[in-house]
């Protein structure tokens, strides 16, 4: 009634991270900080699970616990099925819950979602609608305002059909989707939207390690504009793979004691999975974790503990898959680990300390590894994409749909990017060095300003603007005399040996092609020279050089090639 009276209800948007295993909702608080909203049960990571008992709908953690007793009427891991046809889906994750079935051109689940005994065929888009409706309700209850719009994050490989299906499902749930943004960029933005963050040029690797799948993206941030350079996906690697290690470990222990394999029993396996996941999560925080399950199989209670070291030893193989995926993505982007300025760990599995530590070893010292175990100021990895979405939602909330659509049209988003860095060359008597000003992969048009010191004695200076390329210089260190290690340092033996044979690799900039030369005359001693380079989309250049504080500038333009 209120809506009809006021015409259109006021738009109130939140950010939703819609994951395969967990979803989160976030908003921007009045003081400008992103915060993730807890649902009625107090969960900030809401399991993407719906369960039905006698027509009653359960959602989130409640539904997840139904996987043991009511698996046939519990729907989980359905996000990736949305907008796909039955032939192209991988039903493995749903093995322990309601199984996907073909229904016309889409995927459906056969569940008893009403009090009657006969199961209904519920399409995956209907399930998504119900899930989103619950999320919306939680947000509305928390905020006390009717939430009617959202920015939702999706993986980078989401097809147009999947996007359309998601938008339609959200619309049915009463959510107006303002924009769909990709998860890795949302994660980068969650960090960049912090008030203390500064806009810098950086290359970021976003490792999104989820429950059932892992995605890695290499994102170039250039003056606050993001470009995805490469992505790598592994649809079978995720928290579940680590859970499997825990499950196998405990199952073997149980089998040794009782001669029964709990994994053979459907219910036993479901219990092990649920408790195993909790144990694995606990191991991310403490070095010891306990698992106790009543009546695991044949009515036998089971209790045991596992410590982090054992877990890390057992999951070595899985960990190397994670790091392999990260390296693969960097390689795909034609980059070297030395180029990467920042690694953001996102997704629940990123809490695992070992993964971040392994990444620390791959990347050079200067690379920031943003994960809770390596950086205390890191944002909770599970919340990153929801926060990014909330931030974007706060930006576009006031815009018309048409405005947003026009802005995200390829006409606007497809832009030329610099293939090589542009910078200034410094020649001194001994050597020639290159200082990049605009990095490679900067979206055009772009403008950068830099201040360079003038020679101590002042006078006339030359500014040589060049294109540069970075090379990787590999130097072999001189073989050191082998030192005898103390005997107690057994654990680190492996890495030490590797260290000694490792080469030293560093980035060296080289001038590739000069672009222009400018002279600034009569610079005062000790002052600075300001260089402004503006690159047009057609590769035309405008360069201006002046002494800081000086009035007259030397200007020049180079016409674009295209």
């Amino acid at each position: 009634m209120g809506d009809a009276a006021n015409g259109v209800a006021e738009r109130f948007a939140i950010g939703i991270s819609f994951g395969n295993s967990c979803s989160s909702i976030a908003r921007i608080s009045p003081d400008g900080k992103a915060e993730v909203i807890a649902n009625e049960e107090g969960d900030r990571q809401i399991p993407t699970v719906l369960s039905y008992i006698e027509g009653e709908e359960y959602h989130g953690t409640q539904a997840k616990s139904q996987l043991i007793r009511n698996s046939g009427n519990t729907v989980a891991y359905f996000r990736d099925y949305l907008g796909k046809d039955f032939k192209s889906i991988d039903p493995t994750p749903c093995h322990a819950s309601a199984h996907p079935q073909q229904s016309d051109s889409t995927v459906a689940f056969s569940i008893r979602d009403s009090p009657s005994e006969t199961p209904n065929s519920v399409t995956v888009s209907e399930i998504t609608t119900r899930h989103l409706r619950r999320l919306k309700q939680s947000a509305t209850d928390f905020l006390g305002k009717d939430v009617n719009a959202a920015v939702i994050t999706v993986p980078t490989d989401f097809s147009d059909a999947q996007r359309e299906a998601l938008v339609a499902a959200a619309k049915n749930a009463g959510i107006d989707v303002l924009q769909l943004i990709s998860e890795p960029v949302a994660a980068v933005m969650a960090y960049d939207a912090r008030p203390e963050a500064t806009v810098t040029d950086k290359l970021t690797v976003v490792a999104d390690l989820g429950g059932t799948r892992s995605d890695v993206a290499v994102v170039a941030c250039r003056g606050g504009i993001y470009t995805i350079l490469a992505t790598a996906h592994d649809y079978e690697l995720g928290g579940a793979s680590l859970d499997q290690v825990i499950i196998d470990h405990f199952a073997k222990e149980f089998q040794k004691k009782h001669q029964v394999d709990p994994r053979q029993d459907v219910r036993g396996l479901a219990k092990l999975k649920l408790e195993g996941e909790a144990t694995r999560k606990a191991l991310s925080l403490s070095t010891n974790s306990q698992l106790s399950i009543e009546s695991l199989t044949n009515g036998i209670d089971f209790g045991s503990t596992v410590n982090r070291t054992r877990f890390e030893l057992l999951s070595g193989k899985v960990f190397s898959q994670f790091t392999g995926l990260i390296e693969q993505a960097v390689q795909k982007a034609n980059l070297d680990v030395l180029d990467i300025d920042e690694v953001i760990f996102s997704g629940g599995t990123s809490h695992t300390p070992k993964i971040a530590h392994l990444a620390r070893n791959i990347f050079p010292e200067k690379t920031a590894i943003l994960a809770p175990s390596t950086l205390t100021s890191a944002i909770n990895p599970s919340e990153l994409s929801a926060r990014g979405a909330a931030f974007q939602a706060s930006l576009v909330q006031e815009f018309d749909h048409e405005d947003i659509e026009q802005s995200i049209h390829p006409m606007v988003t497809v832009t030329p990017h610099l293939s090589k860095a542009i910078g200034v060359e410094f020649t001194s008597s001994t050597e020639t060095t290159f200082q990049p000003l605009l990095n490679a992969e900067t979206a055009l048009p772009a403008r950068r300003i830099a201040h360079y010191s003038a020679p101590k004695e002042g006078g006339d200076v030359l500014v040589r603007v060049c294109e540069g390329a970075r090379n990787i210089k590999v130097t072999k260190p001189e073989p050191k005399p082998k030192e005898e290690k103390p005997a107690d340092d057994e654990d680190s033996d492996f890495s030490d040996e590797d260290d000694e044979e490792e080469e030293i690799r560093e980035i060296v900039w080289k001038t590739e092609q000069p672009v222009a030369e400018l002279a600034v005359k009569g610079v005062k001693a000790g002052s600075k020279v300001e260089v402004m380079v503006h690159v047009n989309p057609d590769l035309g250049l405008q360069i201006a050089v002046r002494e800081v504080g000086g009035s007259s500038a030397v200007r020049g333009a180079i016409n674009g090639s295209a």
């Binding site: 806009v199 470009t227 802005s407 832009t415 030329p416 200034v424 010191s453």
Partner: protein, 445 residues
């Protein structure tokens, strides 16, 4: 974007012999660019999209953005509180503040009861800036007249106190809208009446207030509207019009008398107001085509229902009549059929009777024709015995047998022995059948 990187590397000095026109020497171009998709997120992307869509350069965009921001703040400052004062109002005395229009004093006639406390505050500030006596003095107008400033202060005092503001709003004649004349109402009913309820609605304790609506309002809406307004819950008070209670110590009685008078006046005014509203509603309702329409619809609906009911009753009666007629017809037919049957039976019976009579005659005559089996004149006893037997047999046999026997006898004709054998055979058959005792038959034994 405009922030500069600071690099602490010294630039090289200009080499000897370097020269160029305007100190700029283009040497080469850039390598070809790669086309890539940038991610449409973040504030810097929005800036990029804005520039690209409107074909602006960096500096243009920065300038326009700055302009936009500047304009926004200015608008807030200005807020249309720039109504000029009526010279009559400027010469008002602050003493008779009760008679002044507080909203006009503050330049808020456009808003009146809709003005927010913030607007009132801002309006007050604006007016004070213009009419402060110190300012006047500084400008050289030393007429010592700060009465309008006092009016402003009084107006703010009234309007910034919610209770006193309500009291003033209750009697704010300038905010009142009179009901339209009959002529105006007949021209465009809803347009003429609509604003009245918007204005009257401000007195309602219950918000939001249902509005008059238009031709297309549903019956429910119209009913809600009339229910609401006939049971209007108003906060309107008339304290503002109270007579001043003299506090000059004239005496308690005087004071009490005035208080009583005020209370009575308030009550009376309130009553009058209620009556006014009620009468207005009556007038409104009388002219409301929608109510007539709904009534007609209801009547039409009722008529239709009644007609349907009558039709149904009629149909039932007809059906009953038809059923009765049918039944009668059937009965009649059955009766006729039975009668015909009876007649037929009667005829058949008569025919059979005649036939048996004839046969009996044949039987009797057969023995007579053969002279009772006597050769010459039959003796009386012989005749008697033969006839007795004939009678006996005739009495014992049924119609069919009689016919058969008669046929046989007719064939036998006047042949005595044949007749006799026929009779004997019949007699024996009857004896065989146990209908006649052996000894009873004498002549045909």
């Amino acid at each position: 974007m405009a922030a500069a990187q600071v690099v602490n590397v010294s630039l090289p000095s200009l080499p000897q012999g370097w020269s160029a026109e305007k100190d700029f020497k283009p040497v080469g171009g850039l390598s070809a660019a790669t086309q890539r998709n940038i991610e449409p997120v973040g504030p810097y992307f929005l800036a990029h999209a804005r520039r690209k869509r409107h074909n602006r350069t960096f500096s243009e965009d920065e300038r326009l953005q700055a302009q936009n921001n500047a304009k926004k703040t200015e608008d807030e400052e200005n807020m249309d509180i720039s109504e000029d004062e009526d010279p009559m109002m400027l010469s008002r005395e602050a003493k008779d503040w009760k008679g002044q229009d507080h909203y006009a004093v503050l330049g808020l006639t456009k808003y009146r009861w809709r003005a927010t406390p913030e607007q009132i505050k801002k309006a007050h500030r604006k007016k004070v800036l213009r009419h402060h006596p110190d300012k006047k003095a500084a400008m050289g107008k030393s007429d010592e007249n700060d009465s309008f400033f006092k009016c402003i202060q009084k107006a703010t005092e009234v309007l910034s106190d919610p209770i006193r503001r309500r009291q003033f709003d209750s009697v704010d004649e300038a905010a009142e809208i009179d009901p339209p004349s009959k002529k105006a109402a007949s021209k465009d009913y809803f347009k003429a009446w609509g604003p009245i309820f918007e204005a009257e609605g401000r007195f309602s304790n219950k918000q939001p207030v249902p509005q008059l609506g238009d031709d297309n309002s549903t019956q429910e809406e119209v009913e809600t509207f009339y229910n609401f307004w006939y049971n209007f819950d108003s906060w309107r008070t008339f304290e503002y019009l109270d007579e001043d209670i003299p506090d000059d110590g004239e005496g308690r009685d005087q004071k009490r008398h005035t208080e009583k008078k005020n209370a009575n006046a308030r009550r009376k005014r309130k009553q009058e107001d209620n009556v006014r509203l009620r009468e207005m509603m009556d007038e409104l309702m009388a002219g409301d085509e929608r109510i007539k329409k709904f009534r007609q619809q209801a009547r039409a609906g009722k008529d239709a229902k009644r007609k349907a009911k009558e039709d149904e009753a009629k149909r039932l009666v007809e059906e009953k009549e038809r059923a009765r007629l049918e039944k009668e017809q059937q009965e009649k037919a059955a009766e006729e059929a039975a009668k015909a049957e009876r007649e037929k039976n009667k005829k058949a019976k008569e025919a059979a009777k005649n036939a048996s009579k004839k046969n009996k005659r044949v039987l009797k005559s057969s023995v007579k024709d053969v002279n009772y089996f006597a050769d010459g004149e039959a003796s009386a006893s012989q005749v008697d015995s033969v006839l007795t037997d004939v009678e006996l047999i005739m009495g014992k046999i049924d119609v069919d047998e009689l016919a058969a026997l008669a046929e046989k006898l007719t064939i036998a004709g006047k042949d005595g022995s044949a007749v006799k054998s026929a009779w004997t055979a019949e007699g024996q058959r009857l004896v065989g059948a146990g209908k006649v005792k052996e000894g009873d038959l004498k002549a045909f034994a």
